[in-house]
Symmetry: C2
């Protein structure tokens, strides 16, 4: 019996291995259909082949295959305003219903007025106050339910679609391509960790435990029935942006990434930290240079800088020096969104 | 060609499935050889079978299979003193060599004296000072190298073996059994996250990213050559004990565990939080009641309480009420350590 089982195993494994070998070669070419041939796609395929081929000098053992992705502007649209900021603004009326005294207090009064121009002028301290008021004070389950409801209702102003439709198809393909080659894919976002975790599995195939983001503390306590409750507290544990990205990666993953993808100066330290590691590393920057199909911003191509997602000239220069690879939306992406085949 | 590949795949999968089904039944019995038959082993096997059988009402999808383990006193020996505290004490002479002025300052003077009785009397503030001085101020890579070196040299006082030999064989089998059934196993320790991550893969088969522990901050900066460096800072981000355990689980994993294993009042909230979830959950407490083969401590069996690993009567009562299962070292474990077949 044992012998028969062993023989069946061996037969099954042989078949699987031959099918895998057969598929692997074709997979390299067919995995990134929305990418145009060019330096960006070549850099990706070259990196994956050299780090996963056991005969390669740059081979990386499977457990060390870690790839980290910024979210806003790297995996999905961040213009004209971060989705999570819209969420917070949209929550203000609900909040004021619970605490009517806020209606006459700034910055809540401005948000309630619906005056988009005035809202755009809010100072960082005002935004922080809104963020704190709308993201804390409830149980983690209540927060998850609120975000789920909002994602189902909210529509972005340009395409009139759920925000979760606005992910970049080429980057989705890249996530899948890396995972198919044994890479564990992480989101490392300046956005709220609890916010992104609500939809990361469904939208990106990234499980919540592989989302690193700006994180507040929770407090463990009990509800009136004596059931344990974790309540979201207005205490910032990790500001996962700029230097906070490698710090967050160390805290939450404990390994230096082999590949990292970003689009703004908030990702600079993550890319530096990644490319400073031993062996072959891949650091890539998405350049938004396609005003027609998406947005154009960032000064690398002489485009006007905006408040969000600043791809500065300094970042561009550092990237050139360190061998980072620019992904031009205009040049490198055949399609941008899955919902628009004509894109 | 495509069709032939599909047919081969289908054949391979059928064979794999039949072999798996064949092996599964036997695996249940053979996976926990160091456990005596009894309520603890039965609770484990029952939990795993009911949560992994797709026909079961309590079936848990693979991505939600999370099991969390305390370390000290649950996965390895914590008596007479936590290994990490020994590490910190052992580091003091090295530290004093770098900063000679500390030699005449308390609590470093007491540690240097080697007077074990005086060291045992050190106050928590003194310990904190030693911990801070020995665990921070270096790069994360330097720290990892120091811990590796210490683990190779240090021997525990009773068995004269490396601390990493003192893991409980039945718990190692349990980790493997859960993983073989699709559970992701996490260590959730009051000990230092960076410390445990150095050996977690090698010793427990748990990768660093699945270790949640008390965590200090790091600071991102550059060395003299301009290379990025993460330096360990004396800033506590997460005190991963008591209420800090569910808080840490939310921060680092973002899912409520299906199974949790502990041995002391520091694990109470983690077990509460786990067993308060929907569906079938498993919460277990290791009771150290075998003075001959290991140590006996904790008052549940009328044994004297000690400073570490306090399994209090209150915890025992709460556990009974909530359906937690006690693992008696004396009764439930056939063998305790892999190095001693006679154990």
């Amino acid at each position: 019996m044992e012998q028969r089982v062993a023989r069946l195993w061996s037969l099954a494994l042989t078949i699987v291995a031959s099918v895998l070998a057969n598929t692997a070669a074709r997979a390299q070419a067919s995995f990134l259909p929305s990418w145009n041939d060019g330096p960006a796609k070549h850099a990706i395929v070259n990196f994956v082949q050299r780090t996963t081929d056991p005969a390669s000098m740059q081979f990386v053992p499977p457990e060390e295959r870690v790839a980290t992705f910024d979210q806003d502007g790297t995996l999905w649209v961040e213009q004209p305003i971060y989705a999570q900021v819209v969420y917070c603004m949209d929550r203000v009326p609900v909040l004021v219903k619970q605490k009517p005294e806020l209606a006459s207090v700034e910055p809540f009064r401005t948000v309630l007025s619906g005056d988009r121009a005035a809202m755009a002028r809010l100072a960082p301290e005002d935004l922080l106050q809104i963020v704190t008021a709308t993201l804390t004070g409830m149980s983690v389950e209540e927060f998850q339910a609120e975000v789920r409801g909002w994602l189902a209702r909210a529509r972005d102003p340009r395409w009139r679609r759920p925000y979760t439709d606005l992910t970049y198809l080429p980057m989705q393909e890249l996530l899948q391509y890396l995972r198919a080659n044994g890479y564990k894919t992480y989101i490392v976002t300046g956005g709220g960790q609890d916010f992104v975790r609500v939809y990361s599995q469904l939208v990106y195939g990234v499980p919540p435990e592989q989302v690193v983001g700006s994180a507040g503390g929770t407090e463990y306590g009990y509800d009136r029935q004596g059931k344990p409750v974790l309540t979201k507290e207005p205490k910032l544990l990790l500001n996962d942006d700029h230097a906070g990205k490698p710090e967050g990666i160390h805290l939450m993953i404990g390994r230096r990434p082999r590949a990292a993808f970003g689009n703004s100066s908030g990702d600079r330290q993550m890319l530096e930290y990644t490319s400073a590691g031993d062996g072959l590393r891949l650091a890539m920057l998405v350049l938004h240079d396609d005003a027609k199909r998406e947005y154009a911003y960032g000064p690398a191509e002489g485009l006007p800088s905006t408040k969000v997602g600043t791809f500065t000239q300094a970042l561009y220069e550092e990237g050139k020096k360190d061998g980072w690879v620019v992904i031009s939306v205009k040049r490198d992406w055949k399609r941008i969104f899955s919902f628009d085949p004509a894109n």
